[in-house]
């Protein structure tokens, strides 16, 4: 029997026994629902966040030719909805009823309800002015192309000598921010959910003492590898079901044109969730090995959970709102926090490729080191029963075993 045969069998058992369990079916169902919900939300959210274009009630018959057309075409660079009205009375009625944000009628006069809206005012003025343009050009014997630069010159380039310190990044669209937040929540949920599977699995083997029989047939590292490998395979499978459902939902909801950031963030989230799971699952396993009772399991993983929640808060507050600050860059590159923090940063900003590469490289270096450390603590603690075993104690007894 090769050395990897035992871990393989352990992993297979883990997958088969868990996949059969009702809790797994339920959590998979929830993930499918969540994927559909997320796609639906991503479809609807931009509409929620973006203001509807202003509505102007226009009495075209009382205004110069072309005014209504200029407004309605969006020719002035701003989208407006034009509601053509038959009379000033009707336009005023629409305005009064809130069905329009402004009314434009003979005079020409622009009416608002209780306060003016400068953007609409500017638009209306421009439309009135431009409507007279064809006649003027004809008189001057100019074509529209010749007149264009005179009427609408290239804007001057603008520079800031002392740009304001970055605060709430106004360039970040609300939908990007939503995607980032959603990604962080999902990442934290995945890490804690699958982490707790591993934790409970290890503790179960200790409390039922089946580990004693298992250790008669294999070494600790083989059991650890198989256990974590099996659960991670299930986790990745479950996440794949989620991604697949999202794909199905997209085609079902006709959302082929999801914002590009969605795909980028999705890919980043997948990479980082897998790396994050690799990093944290062995830590959860080692923590589980140091306790003998299920009740102690939550206590022993408290530091890990608190760390994760801390990074989560940091990602939601600092990274999402100020993605390129020093702190955001550090937490998105540092290997313990990058699994949670880099994805939201990619969602709201455009971190340089080398920073993403560095964070992945650091994870790839850190993961084997953590596995090594966790494996040793696991080996030193897994066969010891009774009160909770200190880390140093476990470390020492690992040196003695076998």
């Amino acid at each position: 029997m090769s050395r990897l045969q035992a871990p393989w069998l352990v992993a297979l058992r883990e997958i088969r026994e868990r996949a059969r369990a009702r809790s797994f079916m339920i959590s998979t169902g929830l993930i499918v629902l969540l994927a559909f919900g997320a796609v639906a939300a991503a479809t609807i959210l931009p509409d929620v966040f973006e203001d509807d274009p202003p509505v102007i009630a226009v009495v075209a018959s009382e205004l110069p030719d072309g005014v209504a057309g200029l407004l309605a075409d969006g020719a002035l660079g701003t989208e407006v909805t034009v509601r053509t009205s038959g009379s000033e009375t009707e336009a005023r009625r629409l305005l009064g009823a809130g069905a329009a944000d402004a009314a434009l009628f003979g005079g020409p006069t622009l009416a608002f309800r209780d306060e003016t809206r400068p953007s609409i005012e500017a638009l209306a003025n421009q439309a009135i002015r431009l409507s007279s343009l064809p006649a003027v050009l004809e008189r001057l014997d100019l074509t529209l192309d010749e007149a264009g630069p005179l009427i609408n010159p290239e804007p001057l380039p603008v520079v800031l000598l002392n740009p304001a310190a970055p605060g709430l990044d106004d360039d970040v669209s609300d939908s990007d921010r939503a995607v980032a937040t959603f990604a962080v929540v999902l990442l934290l949920m995945s890490l804690t959910l699958y982490g707790s599977w591993i934790l409970n699995g290890v503790v179960e083997e200790k409390t039922s003492r089946v580990v004693e029989v298992l250790m008669g047939a294999m070494r600790p590292w083989q059991l650890l590898l198989g256990k974590v490998g099996g659960i991670l395979a299930l986790a990745v499978g479950q996440l794949a079901v989620g991604v697949l459902s999202a794909g199905v939902a997209m085609s079902a909801l006709g959302t082929a044109d999801l914002p590009e950031v969605g795909l980028e963030v999705g890919a980043a989230a997948l990479v980082y969730v897998v790396l994050g799971l690799l990093l944290f699952s062995f830590v959860f396993a080692a923590a589980g090995a140091t306790v003998s009772r299920q009740e102690e399991a939550q206590t022993v993983t408290m530091p890990i959970s608190l760390t994760l929640v801390g990074i989560y808060m940091l990602s939601l507050t600092v990274v999402v709102n100020d993605a390129d600050s020093t702190l955001s860059r550090v937490v998105s590159i540092f290997p313990l926090s990058s699994p949670l923090a880099m994805t939201p940063r990619i969602a709201v900003s455009d971190p340089p490729l080398w920073e993403i590469g560095l964070s992945i490289a650091l994870l790839l270096v850190t993961i084997p080191a953590v596995i090594n450390l966790a494996g040793r603590i696991y080996a030193g603690a897994i066969l010891r029963t009774g009160p909770r075993i200190g880390l140093r104690d476990a470390w020492r007894s690992a040196r003695e075993t076998r």
């Binding site: 029997m1 045969q5 035992a6 069998l9 058992r13 088969r16 026994e17 179960e204 083997e205 039922s208 003492r209 089946v210 580990v211 004693e212 029989v213 298992l214 250790m215 008669g216 047939a217 294999m218 070494r219 066969l383 007894s397 003695e400 075993t401 076998r402």
Partner: protein
Amino acid sequence: MLELTGLEKRYGDVLALGGCTFRAQPGRMVGFLGPNGSGKTTAMRSVFGLVALDAGSVHWRGEPIRPEERARFGYMPEQRGLYPRMRVRDQAIYFARLHGLSSNEAATAADHWLERLGLTDRATARVEELSHGNQQRVQLIIALVHEADLLILDEPFSGLDPLGVAALGDVVREQAARGAAVVFSSHQLDLVEDLCDDIAVINGGRVVLDGALDSVRAASPSRYVHASVLADGQPVPWHAAIEGVELLWERGTEARMRVPTDTDPASLLAAAQAAGSVGFFRFEPPSLSDLFMEAVAEARP
């Protein structure tokens, strides 16, 4: 052959093993006996590398044990260990495969053993749904399912009713007959006497008596007399005047005593007959229980 040589292990101030040495041979059953806390479990766990020994060696066929050889061992730990929510047959197959059987072989072996121990109708039950006795059977199946070369059974029969003990005892006996080396610990000395070829008695972390049961018996410095001698319906102290006789107990009309090996049974019987009427008179080698008491008592400071 399994050889434990000079095993030593301390847990803090507690001495678990202090030079434990004994061997187990293929085709023979060793009854591993000792008072509570004498080091039996520690010694048995050391065979599977579950104990970091302070000194001593565990050899199989003359060599330190390699993982692939260990996979050919079967182990029933004192504290039962099974996956509570896993189904019985799946569990047997899983452990068979961990011990190197192919999936077909494992399924065949699992079905055979479920049948043999009367668990076929519980094959799809979860272990936690079984009675204590049936869980015990499953635990034994886990140790047996891969036709182990060496079986280490730590109190395999504790908590079983006499029928269960007899059934499982037969099964274990068959394993030795098939050629496996079997070591099992038990406090049920009569059972060990019925089943075992060899014994090893451990006390205070050291093996104080071991060997083939017959030769250990023969080598004992004592013989035992169990008799009922009455005069006028009352037991008489016929043995009081004989040198070397040690009274162990008197109960009703019966008495049991220990005498030196070289005592002549005929002269003893003659003394009894002279004192009264002899209801019965047995002169016998020590029972396992006697041997155990002798060994443990001698070793006690």
